[in-house]
């Protein structure tokens, strides 16, 4: 008797808890809609004026020109995409190698210290990275390629790679740590060497976690502002080489927002909206791929 009353009591407690937590979840999940709505409201004057077409058809971005105003953002979309891609290409091998080293080879003390340092580096403000890039990375590029501006796609890629390196290294390391030890022991029991075990057992098993890290890095790099604005050169163009300057969308918003007239401001909101939609597509695609990959592994 007492037990059944207890159960019904705990059921109603659970209902209340579930309701409260559900509400919190609803707020968390709905936050993005609030942001989208605000962005959309800010961008509306530009959309209403029919500028959205010009976004993709105009060749240049010169909204303040008296003589020939143009509103093309294709070059800046390309800039965002290229610099992000370059950053991931540079950061992934180094981050992964570092994670493998600290997971399988380093003594535990070194591993713990490394983790603390990486956590610290996530907190270095991007302006510090950007400033350092301007003082150290740009002159280094000029030594390799004299006669170029120095502030370039390559400089942006390197600085962004440094910024997302701790994120990729930490998440990869966590993913490798989560690989069940019986798998590794079984591999060792089969006579596989440590290198083989890592390559053919640990890495494939940790693929999901590593992908999550890469995706977090991608999102961080795409949205990064203060570092890229200092080292990319900010010329809206499709680069011919790694040494050409580029301009990501976030740079444009940061450079022009405080100085924009009403109609120009709406254009910048619009650019922010486009950037967010692109990132959302990327996120959607990756999580879709990841889900199918996970279920494929689960099914096997």
């Amino acid at each position: 008797m007492a037990s059944s009353r207890n159960t019904s009591l705990s059921r109603s407690v659970d209902r209340v808890t579930g309701g409260v937590l559900g509400l919190l979840a609803l707020v968390s999940g709905g936050m993005v809609l609030l942001i989208l709505w605000h962005l959309f409201a800010g961008a509306w004057p530009a959309i209403e004026a029919g500028r959205l077409g010009a976004f993709f058809t105009d060749a240049k971005w010169q909204p303040g020109s008296q003589r020939d105003p143009q509103f093309g953002i294709v070059t800046m979309l390309a800039g965002s995409a290229l610099v992000t891609l370059l950053a991931v290409v540079l950061a992934l091998p180094v981050g992964l190698a570092s994670a493998i080293f600290h997971r399988f080879y380093a003594p535990p003390l070194l591993e713990r210290w490394n983790r603390r340092i990486m956590e610290l580096l996530i907190g270095v403000p991007s302006v510090v990275f950007g400033f350092w890039g301007l003082m150290v990375v740009v002159p280094a590029i000029l030594r390799i390629a004299p006669g170029t501006p120095g502030q370039s796609l390559l400089a942006g890629g390197i600085v962004l790679a440094l910024m997302i390196l701790p994120l990729i290294a930490l998440t990869s390391q966590a993913a490798l740590q989560a690989v069940p030890s019986f798998l590794l022991q079984a591999a060792a029991g089969l006579g596989l060497g440590r290198a083989r075990t890592i390559l053919s057992i640990a890495l494939p098993a940790a693929r999901g976690g590593i992908t999550t890290g890469v995706f977090l890095g991608l999102a961080r790099a795409l949205g990064e502002t203060m570092a890229v604005v200092l080292v990319c050169g900010n010329i809206p163009q499709i680069p011919d080489s790694l040494f050409d300057p580029i301009r990501p969308i976030t740079s444009t918003i940061a450079l022009e927002m405080g100085y924009a007239t009403a109609s120009h401001k709406a254009l910048l909101f619009c650019a922010g909206l486009v950037l967010m939609l692109c990132t959302a597509l990327l996120v959607g695609w990756i999580s879709f791929r990841k889900n199918t990959a996970d279920s494929a592994i689960g099914g096997a």
Binding site: L9, V20, L21, L24, V127
Partner: protein, 273 residues
């Protein structure tokens, strides 16, 4: 081969970051002193200290964590314990949170300016900056808490249910303490992310270097101060480096405090009957 590649990667990342930190220390260390930490900002930051800025930064961080932790952890618990993960509601909310992770920080700044500062009438304030940052680190907290809860042994829950414990009790007494180390990692990552953010704060918590009297005052965060000194105040470079060193120390202190607090709490629970 793998060992050499791994060592190389680890060394390379270590050397690059050591280089960065060395440059910061070389420029910034000479100005560090107790007076720097406890003084008022004078001459636009070229002289004096950063006491009001430290206070504002901690205020912003407190507002941020005060909103983000309940929301994020609550959301993750609901997703993991109180609903079916494959259900429509859970999938929509997970999608929304993931989408939130992809919002560029400068867009958070625009959003915070319109939503908190203007629509809600908070103006340029520590509260407005903290709330904006809370939205920004929310996905990080949800994701890490969710991962921590999901990696708990799967037989915990049926065992607790067999003992007649309610879900609420199970979550509060068993699951959360067990998942705490994972949640703390998420919180430390969030703290790092929040303290390093500049773009989102320029438009929300503002520029004022006065010692804030309340959460509704405008207050300049350390990252914004570093930005202003590095790019806006002539001869501000050295003070920018000093402030960056202080920021790194602050992250170290806050992160260690979070870890120590969680360990202390776990020990006390373990020793309690």
């Amino acid at each position: 081969m793998i060992a050499i590649a791994g060592l190389f990667g680890a060394l390379l990342s270590f050397v690059l970051f050591a280089w960065l930190i060395r440059d910061l220390v070389r420029l910034g260390l000479p100005h560090l002193s107790w007076d720097f930490l406890s003084g008022e900002v004078t001459d636009a930051g070229r002289s004096g200290g950063i006491a009001p800025i430290l206070v504002s930064t901690l205020g912003i961080l407190a507002c941020c964590l005060g909103l983000a932790i309940p929301l994020g952890v609550g959301c993750a618990i609901w997703l993991s314990e109180f609903t079916r993960r494959s259900g429509t509601a859970a999938r929509i909310i997970t999608g929304g949170v993931d989408l939130l992770a992809s919002v560029p920080s400068i867009v958070f700044g625009l959003f915070g300016m319109v939503c908190f500062s203007q629509t809600l009438g908070l103006g340029f304030s520590i509260l407005s900056g903290g709330l904006t940052l809370a939205c920004m680190i929310l996905p990080l907290l949800v994701r890490t808490t969710l991962t921590a809860l999901e990696s708990l042994p799967s037989d915990l829950r049926p065992a607790a249910a067999g003992l007649g414990l309610s879900k609420t009790t199970t979550t509060a007494r068993l699951l959360l303490p067990a998942a705490l180390p994972g949640i703390v990692i998420g919180i430390t990552l969030g703290i790092g992310r929040a303290l390093s953010e500049t773009a989102a704060l320029l438009f929300t918590s503002g520029y004022s270097t006065r010692m804030p009297g309340s959460l509704s005052d405008s207050g300049r965060a350390l990252s914004v101060h570093i930005y202003d000194l590095a790019l806006n105040v002539a001869n501000g470079g050295a003070m920018a480096s000093s402030s960056a060193l202080v920021l790194l120390a602050l992250i170290l202190v806050v992160n260690s405090a979070a870890v120590a607090l969680s360990e202390h709490w776990l020990r006390r629970r373990a020793s309690a009957p």
